[in-house]
């Protein structure tokens, strides 16, 4: 999908209107700028000619008025163009982003997890901004350049066909130069991007192995190796810069040829010699047109960046754009606090030969997790507990299809929303919004009143935390234990049929941990619980486990390495 199509199809009515308006304003503003120069020159020459001819019928008022009007018009139009263009930029960016965010909500959980390392963030911020920026940085300037060049060529052709033809040819050459230059930079940019990836990988590997490298006295050679990759990237970037410089130089040389040609043809052309005033006006118009052409490489570069970003967005966009905004959102979350037992309560999670543990000691595990049952997963850090929980929650694609079934349906085929309605996973370091405790809880239960929220906090043994406590960025204002209990209280409000808790007792003293787990079981008696606890904590469970899965210290070399 090209960047422009993406921008246009995502933009709402108003942003589209703004975009068109910005194009018109930009075109008119650039025309005014060119005309200001051209008309001023024509006016001066005419004044001189009139004086020389002692022509008394010529009125200087109109042309001089036109000059003033053009001067004010250009300023006003430029200001307007910037405002409208940025208005379109902001509007289009907002619409595009909200479409893509919506698309992201339909992505299966496991794909979202793949995006978790910041890639989704990069798509939704940097790339969306790059595409949105077209609305101010690419489309209106291109309109300005195109319109000015067209009008200048048309005027010239009317005044003197040879000049018109010559200018048309030269302007076409200039455009071709800029486009060809941009195309060549793109190759260099790709080389640079590859070198950067190598440098980044090298840097991160070296950082991981820094202790070893220092003992091997090998930090310097390894650093040099990273520096080599950086050097390759830098050379590719320098090559791109040099191409850009060369195409700018070529454009300026073409401008020199264009202006000289018009000047000579207009003043002393064998056939179509023109009045001096017209000739000077034309030369200045052409000069203005070429000055505008000089910005073309920059504009094309921004377009190239937007095109690259659009390419990266294609997946998300294809998911979000064809259907348009989803038809009236399915009835808001059924499992709010008021109806804890409705919805998918009573669902059964079945694991069939799910691989557990990782690396050489990988085995397979089958079980039926029915309503009200409790599965305890223990093992030391890195023994694959989190991986198992994420597999059960559908966040990781199981190695074999249909190995995890929720009420008979493979979790990997369930849409995120359906999955969310019956199953909740509380990750070890779950995200907490930079807001208040109450706002974080209401993510799970949008309509809940304060008493419900307080009750949920009390269940999670967090009753001493007032609802209006600010949580800080990523929950940083709370202690680790408070963060744990807050995300568990949040999950409680979902009253899910299946609740998966990854290390719920981290950062809690034993008494609080027991109180929290007891409250949890009492509040959700029919919920199937899957609880992962580290070795030391597995005696904290205040109720009997239906199954216990003990994982051995066989962490995956591969995951640990990444």
């Amino acid at each position: 999908m090209t960047a422009f199509r993406l921008l246009w199809s995502a933009a709402d009515h108003r942003a589209r209107r703004d975009l068109l308006f910005a194009m018109v304003l930009a075109g008119t503003a650039e025309l005014c700028a060119a005309a200001l120069l051209g008309v001023s020159g024509w006016f001066l020459t005419s004044c001189a000619v009139v004086t020389a001819q002692a022509n008394t019928t010529w009125s200087w008022m109109y042309p001089s008025g036109t000059v003033r009007a053009l001067a004010l018009g250009r300023t006003g139009l430029r200001y307007g163009e910037r405002l409208v263009g940025h208005g379109a930029l902001l509007g289009a960016t907002v619409s595009l982003r909200s479409r893509l965010v919506r698309a992201a909500t339909t992505v299966p959980a496991r794909e979202l997890r793949d995006h978790r390392d910041g890639a989704l963030m990069a798509r939704l911020t940097g790339d969306v901004d790059a595409v949105g920026a077209m609305a101010a940085r690419v489309v209106p300037p291109l309109a300005g350049i195109g319109l000015t060049a067209a009008v200048v060529v048309a005027l010239l052709t009317v005044a003197s066909p040879p000049s018109g033809a010559a200018e048309l040819l030269l302007l076409a050459l200039a455009t071709a130069t800029a486009v060809a230059g941009e195309r060549r930079t793109r190759d260099h940019r790709r080389t640079a991007a590859e070198a950067w990836t190598a440098a980044r990988t090298g840097l991160l590997s070296a950082r991981s192995a820094l202790a070893e490298l220092r003992c091997l006295d090998a930090v310097d050679p390894v650093r040099d190796r990273v520096a080599d990759a950086v050097g390759r990237a830098r050379r590719a970037e320098a090559a791109a810069e040099s191409v850009l410089r060369r195409s700018k130089l070529l454009l300026r040389l073409l401008a020199a040829a264009g202006q000289t040609t018009v000047l000579v043809l207009a003043l002393s052309g064998p056939v179509f010699a023109q009045p001096a005033a017209d000739a000077i006006g034309e030369v200045l118009l052409v000069a203005a047109a070429y000055e505008l052409m000089e910005t073309l490489p920059q504009v094309l570069r921004d377009r190239g960046l937007a095109a690259d970003a659009a390419l990266r967005l294609t997946d998300l966009a294809n998911r979000g754009l064809p259907d348009g905004p989803p038809t009236a959102s399915p009835s808001p979350s059924p499992s709010t606090s008021t109806s804890p037992l409705t919805g998918a309560a009573g669902a059964t999670l079945v694991a069939q030969h799910v691989p557990v543990g990782v690396g050489d000691a990988r085995t397979r595990w089958s079980t039926v997790i029915g309503p009200g049952s409790v599965v305890l997963v223990t093992g030391p850090n890195g023994s694959g507990k989190s991986t198992l929980l994420e597999t059960l929650a559908g966040r990781i694609r199981p190695t074999e299809p249909r190995s995890v079934l929720l009420d008979g349906v493979p979790v990997e085929s369930l849409p995120a929303r359906a999955l969310a309605d019956s199953l909740t996973l509380v990750e070890a370091e779950d995200w907490i919004a930079d807001a208040t405790v109450a706002e974080n809880l209401r993510q799970a239960a949008p309509g809940a009143d304060d008493d419900t929220l307080r009750a949920a906090l009390a269940t999670a043994a967090l009753e001493q935390l007032p609802l209006d406590t600010p949580t800080g960025p990523l929950g940083g204002a709370l202690s680790q234990g408070q963060r744990r209990r807050l995300v568990i209280a949040r999950a409680l409000l979902r009253a899910p049929a299946v609740l998966l808790l990854d290390e719920p007792t981290a950062g809690l003293d034993d008494r609080t941990a027991v109180r929290m787990l007891t409250g949890l079981r009492r509040a959700l008696p029919d919920t199937a619980l899957v609880i992962a606890l580290p070795d030391r904590h597995d005696d904290l469970l205040p109720f009997a486990a239906t199954h216990t899965l003990r994982l051995e210290a066989e962490p995956a070399s591969v995951t640990a390495f990444g």
């Binding site: 004044c47 001819q53 300023t75 940025h86 960016t93 909200s98 950086v230 030369v283 919004a433």
Partner: protein, 591 residues
């Protein structure tokens, strides 16, 4: 991508101390390429001379055309000479600008290289404690994008002041030669050029700042929401999240738009000044040409050539100032990047070339190695931002040639103790010494071979990774090292032997194989002290037995310090040190 944040930053710039600091940093960094930027500024300024030639050519051609107003009979020579002047001026300008761009790009590249070298040095320091607080992602980001973000500032803004003085000066001198009245007019108009927003008025500024604060809050909120998207979807709150992000985004856009309305005024103001100056000059020259002008001091006649000359030079006079004003966007972007980069560079433990020679003892590579003793005296370590001590007053002596195991629950400080003993971490209090023979020196990684948890191989071939330990080793020596530890079958099992590519994400090597390779590397490194962090944590009983055998072999000529939970490994230890909450709670004589 968009220049909106720059606009915002630009408006908010002068009420923040951080900006001042960033400006200082930027100036210091730009000094690296200073001669280049000066040259670029000069060249760009001189390019104004090309503009003057171009204007002179136009004037000359117009004057020539005026000579025969009815067309057709224009004398060819003056037109051609005018045209030649126009072409020469444009060519001169094109050449000078291209040269200036080249020089400026070169200077910017020098600055970027300098910063990247320093960033790499900070990320991978040869000595001292590496900056752990800096997340790896931020390092990669800083190395690539943040440094790149300085480029527009370096290439346009830094040379712009010089360009303005020289370029505007040349143009003004040329105009002065044509018409002093016009020159005077332009000089009088100059103070009206706003280099900051003072012209817009202090009152608006307060309003803008209020807007800015909320804009910043909103964009933080938006980023936070986007970050939490996976969690929110898991909570079934996807639809709410979409609505909330969109609301935040819209509100942000609305407020940004309000700020931009003011921000764009400053650009509009400069443009208004330029266009009005042009209109006034055009009118004045026109009236002078028509002979309608009758003013006391000001000249009332003018030739067409001069009139055209000063008219087309008028915008050229203001152009450098406009560039300078535009450069503020670039500066705002650079300031933001500077703070990030400085945050990493300034955490570097030592100066760029600070490799204290004292840390490399004379007996660095004894051959054959005689085992080193390790003495820890009252060692205390506290990690920044943590309440409790990682190590609390630990005193411990490891006699040369001993195998000492460190046990204890996870989080007890085992790895910290190991890295202090290896000389990788300076204790906050107390000291750690290595004794080789009769020499006692401060603990140094140069005396140590280290295998971390998990063990890491770098991207590259197996040979590359092993050669890190002994750079001049030949393939036989490497193969012999495998044999010495009884790992010949491992080498045979690898598809391309020493040329097998390993590294990023292990590529097919099992954790057992990786651990064995790390031990081979430790053997190749003739260090008198071997530190192993959980060497058998990943391994099955068979793999563990192989590693234990290798550790026994290595222990013949080395002191071995290791952390472990494994009973089998504890068995081969002479001493077992138990750590609990950073304190040595028990020392058990295993023998």
């Amino acid at each position: 991508m968009t220049d909106i944040p720059d606009h915002l930053a630009r408006l908010g710039r002068d009420d923040e101390d951080g900006r001042q600091r960033a400006a200082g940093l930027l100036a210091r960094w730009a000094a690296v390429g200073e001669p280049a930027f000066r040259r670029a500024g000069t060249l760009r300024g001189l390019a104004a001379a090309g503009h003057v030639l171009w204007a002179a050519g136009l004037g000359r051609a117009a004057q020539a055309a005026l000579g025969s107003p009815h067309g057709g009979g224009v004398a060819l020579a003056p037109v051609l000479s005018g045209a030649a002047l126009v072409a020469a001026g444009l060519l001169l300008r094109a050449a000078l600008l291209a040269a200036a761009d080249r020089v400026a790009d070169g200077g910017a590249a020098a600055v970027r290289d300098h910063l990247r070298a320093r960033l790499l040095l900070a990320a991978l320091p040869s000595t001292g404690t590496p900056p752990e607080e800096v997340p790896d992602a931020a390092l990669g980001e800083a190395l690539e994008s943040e440094v790149g973000r300085l480029t527009p500032w370096l290439t346009t803004y830094v040379p712009a002041r010089r360009t303005m003085l020289l370029g505007s000066g040349i143009v003004l001198a040329a105009i002065l030669a044509g018409s002093w009245a016009v020159a005077l007019l332009l000089v009088l108009a100059t103070p009206l050029l706003p280099f900051n927003l003072k012209v817009i008025g202090m009152g608006t500024r307060a309003a803008v700042h209020a807007q800015l604060t909320s804009t910043r809050q909103l964009s933080t909120h938006l980023l936070d929401q986007l970050r939490g998207l996976p969690t929110l979807i898991g909570l079934g709150a996807g639809e709410e999240a979409v609505r909330a992000t969109e609301a935040a985004d819209r509100e942000l856009a609305r407020r940004t738009n309000a700020v931009l309305r003011v921000a764009f005024l400053s650009t509009a103001w400069i443009e208004l000044l330029i266009t009005v100056a042009m209109a006034v000059v055009a009118t004045y020259c026109g009236l002078a040409l028509l002979g309608y002008l009758d003013l006391p001091v000001v000249p009332s006649t003018m030739s067409l050539g001069t009139a055209l000359f000063v008219l087309v030079l008028t915008p050229a006079y203001f152009a450098p100032a406009r560039e300078l004003a535009r450069g503020y966007h670039a500066r705002a972007e650079a300031s933001a990047a500077a703070e990030l980069i400085a945050g990493i560079i300034e955490r570097a433990p030592a100066g760029p070339s600070g490799r204290p020679a004292a840390h490399v003892p004379a007996a660095r590579r004894p051959s054959p190695p005689s085992p080193a003793g390790v003495v820890l005296e009252g060692v205390t370590v506290r990690y920044p931002g943590r309440h409790d001590l990682a190590l609390d007053d630990v005193t411990l002596t490891v006699p040369p040639g001993a195998v000492v195991a460190i046990g204890g629950p996870s989080g007890a400080g085992k790895t910290t103790l190991l890295s202090v003993a290896a000389g990788l971490r300076e204790p906050d209090r107390g000291r750690c010494l290595h004794c080789v023979g009769s020499v006692t020196v401060p603990a140094s990684p140069a005396m140590t071979a280290w295998a971390g948890q998990p063990s890491y191989l770098l991207p590259g071939t197996l040979r590359d990774n092993l050669l890190l330990a002994r750079r001049d080793a030949g393939d036989e020596e490497l193969t012999a090292a495998f044999a010495a530890l009884g790992f010949e079958d491992l080498l045979a099992a690898l598809p391309q032997g020493l040329s097998t590519r390993v590294g990023e994400r292990g590529l097919g090597l099992s954790s057992g194989q990786m651990q064995q390779l790390v031990l081979v590397r430790a053997l190749l490194r003739d260090a008198p002290l071997l530190c192993l962090d959980e060497p058998t944590a990943h391994l099955d009983p068979d793999g563990e037995a192989r590693v234990i055998g290798a550790v026994r072999t290595l222990a013949r000529t080395r002191t071995v310090l290791l952390t472990t939970h494994s009973p089998a490994l504890l068995d081969i230890a002479d001493d077992v040190v138990r750590l609990s909450r950073g304190r040595v709670s028990r020392i058990k004589e295993a023998l």
